[in-house]
Amino acid sequence: MKRKGQGLILADIFALFVLFLILAGFWFVLKLPELLPGREEQVIEGLFAEDASITLLNFLRSPVEVEGNIIETSKLISLAYRDKNLEESLRKHVKEIFPKIYGVCYGFFIYDKDKLVFQEGIEGVSSLAGEAMPVKVNLPLENKENLIIELNPTYFFKAGKKAFQTCGVK
């Protein structure tokens, strides 16, 4: 036979038990990091492509000597676009700078619309070993057209660590 109030008391016991479980659960959550043997690591990475954009902008602003005159590289690029004899000066300047930053892992390209008009270095390809991070800028010419300048360094994953490292730099 069921007595008056018995159901209410049982509900109280159940509620207290659930409360106990919740508190025990919170204790468990707080203690779990100490109990687990190997802790998972989540690495938040930074942006690397932006570093290449500073390098490219500096390259375009860098002084270069052409036929006895010091001019900016962006000017040399626009001159070399018309006068193919100046391409060698540009190539020499590219080789003086980028290998010191990226070793052999870079490509420097100039496009006139979609047509490739100048190339130095290799075309970067993303793979399991590394990641190509191309940056591009538009270089306006006097005839109101644009050249597209692209720098494409490839960063390689450092062995045993979730980090990028440029190849060829020591």
Partner: protein
């Protein structure tokens, strides 16, 4: 039977599976929550990246400024330890900046937070409580109104949080 006593009868037996089920569900909720919270979130990579951006972009650091700031152009007058300590300093981060000519000759070197940069000597050997990063950047040096090409090597040590 005493008056007011509780008989654990049919209702109690019905209650047991409910309690078991509630406990089971709660255990799994807390287990998932616990496993999620138990991970280490490593932000050293990000901190390193942010430090470099601050050095390059903040006009209070070493970037050349006239009407605007030029990231990547280094004003040699601003390339000083005291200035960089004010501009980019964090207790657990130490860094050394080596400014070099394109042929490798040193122009100037500065160190910020020497207590931490002392660990740079151990970067190739033991790295238990700290992380090391090395970057090389192509920069322009502005000195007395003239610009020349240079290289900036950045060595960063970030000590793990205690």
């Amino acid at each position: 039977m005493k008056k007011g006593s509780v008989i654990l009868g049919e209702e109690t037996i019905k209650m047991l599976p409910r309690i078991f089920l509630a406990g089971f569900v709660l255990f799994f909720i807390f287990l998932i929550l616990g496993v999620y919270l138990a991970r280490d979130v490593r932000t050293e990579e990000l901190e390193h990246s942010l430090l470099i951006k601050r050095l390059f972009y903040d006009q209070n650091c070493f970037s050349f400024t006239d009407e605007r700031s030029y990231p990547g152009i280094i004003d040699l007058n601003k390339f000083q330890e005291e200035r960089l300590e004010k501009c980019a300093f964090k207790e657990k981060i130490g860094y050394r900046l080596d400014l070099k000519e394109m042929n490798g000759d040193s122009i100037k070197s500065v160190e910020v937070n020497k207590k931490i940069t002392a660990l740079l000597d151990f970067c190739d050997t033991q790295k238990k409580n700290f992380q090391c990063y090395q970057d090389r950047n192509f920069v322009l040096v502005e000195e007395q109104g003239e610009r020349r090409n240079a290289l900036l090597d950045i060595f960063v040590v970030i000590r793990d949080e205690a």
